[in-house]
Subunit: 276 residues, 2 copies
């Protein structure tokens, strides 16, 4: 998906919601375990219920790998289902991979050729070699970890550089923005650190940010919109557990729809407030 198409989708749906498909065999409703492919059955129901309110889906590969090769197959089927039924969705493999060039090629093939994802999340630790092979795919995106929403993000991401006073996550953004463009790179910036979004916007005013951490992790959507929005909207805000596990009963899809709709409405007023 191109940048223009993504911006159009956000305007059309008045939403920049990304639904995180953290679909865990231990947490999905009990009755789905009778299905042959319980993760895929769960995902289909969640997707059908939330597709009107969302512009992106983000399956996290960990939950599928935990189910072995059957899980990997259900991840591929989920991607195919979205591609076929909802062709205008932005599809992110939340894989947080990071390896050297030779090996990164393999991951790029896995997510962009074997599965037709639009984007993959990557870790910047090993530098440019990790990112480059992914940028060679036309119309595909890299979402680079910068400032994450977890507690121990402070262990290394906030390390301050001698001489410049830059934090590691700032250096990651400043260095890597030259590797691609605002049309093929985004950055992960956690909602639990919304105050820092202003600083990030000074370095990359035009890039999209993928923002996790609202809902279960406690970040505030209105803070994120206040500090993170730009002329394109410029945000994909992810919610996972708050939507997909809104109910653990047979009404899980309806409950997910209700939660997604609630978030979409808040996004709609934020977009309108900021002139979109």
């Amino acid at each position: 998906m191109t940048l223009t198409e993504l911006v159009e989708q956000i305007k059309a749906k008045q939403s920049f919601l990304c639904v995180g498909l953290d679909s865990d065999l231990q947490k999905i409703p009990a009755h789905l375990h009778r299905e042959k492919e319980p993760l895929f059955a769960f995902n289909k129901a969640i997707i059908d219920a939330t597709a009107d309110c969302a512009v992106a889906y983000k399956p996290n590969t960990a939950f599928y790998e935990a189910a072995g090769e059957a899980g990997w197959m259900q991840l591929r089927k989920t991607a195919e289902y979205i591609r076929t039924r909802y062709p205008h969705m932005f599809l992110i493999a939340d894989a947080k991979r990071g390896d050297i060039g030779n090996t990164s090629n393999g991951y790029a093939k896995a997510f962009f050729s074997v599965m037709d994802m639009d984007a993959v999340t990557l870790s910047p630790y090993m530098g440019r070699d990790t990112v480059q092979p992914f940028l060679e795919y036309d119309g595909k995106w890299v979402v680079l970890l910068a400032l994450t929403s977890n507690t121990s993000a402070a262990d290394f991401e906030l390390m301050e550089e001698a001489g410049t006073g830059k934090k590691l996550y700032e250096k990651v953004i400043e260095t890597s923005k030259a590797w691609g463009s605002e049309a093929n790179m985004m950055y992960v910036a956690g909602a639990t650190k919304a105050g820092m979004l202003q600083g990030i916007r000074k370095i990359i005013p035009h890039h999209f940010l993928l923002v996790p951490g609202i809902g279960a992790q406690g970040g505030s959507l209105s803070d994120v919109m206040q500090h993170g929005m730009n002329k394109n909207g410029g945000l994909l805000v992810n919610a996972s557990r708050a939507i997909i596990y809104a109910s653990s009963g047979k009404d899980f899809a309806a409950a997910a729809e209700k939660e997604a709709k609630k978030i979409q409405r808040e996004m709609e007023s934020g977009l309108s407030e900021h002139g979109h």
Copy 2:
């Protein structure tokens, strides 16, 4: 596998060779493509040919993911094959995963329960949350990226901290060594930066180091032994392409054996020189 068992294996085999199973459908000998499971067939032949000279195997997950769920299945079968036929091998999933606690649990389950690997490589970027779930498995190991062997390792790993002058990779090692012990944590330290191994040994004299980068990437085994060895040996040195692609013909397994034997002999004299 415990630390004691690993040290015993190294003494018994007079080798600390780790064979990297970077098994790429595009690079394995052409005649294997007639097999139903070409990656698994390739791996079995490589393993049988090198098991006498090696103490560890390290499949890199990227190459298996690039072959879709069939690849993922062949990775699991490779792990099972090693577990069954060569129970004293140290088995490393080179996955370089890194995510928050909730999600890291999924990866830990994938590699330690679904597959019975001994160790997983992890990226430190997101801090302790990434590592902790893996350390809760008894007898299992985390191999944390510190100083990698690729060209762009310098982008961020060598960033210097204000006040302390420590490099990021040094801070990663210093901070994380308190999360586990020398009996459940190792560090990746690239052979292409062998001069820095001395500095690493000052921070962690007793931990094992997993050293990639000899062979195809140009690092020198004798430099690594000189700067990196400790009282336990303390090294696992990985070679991938130099061994597994030593020949692209039908004699690939014999050629791999010859290469592995050559490296093992050099290791044997290094071990004896250092009194092991």
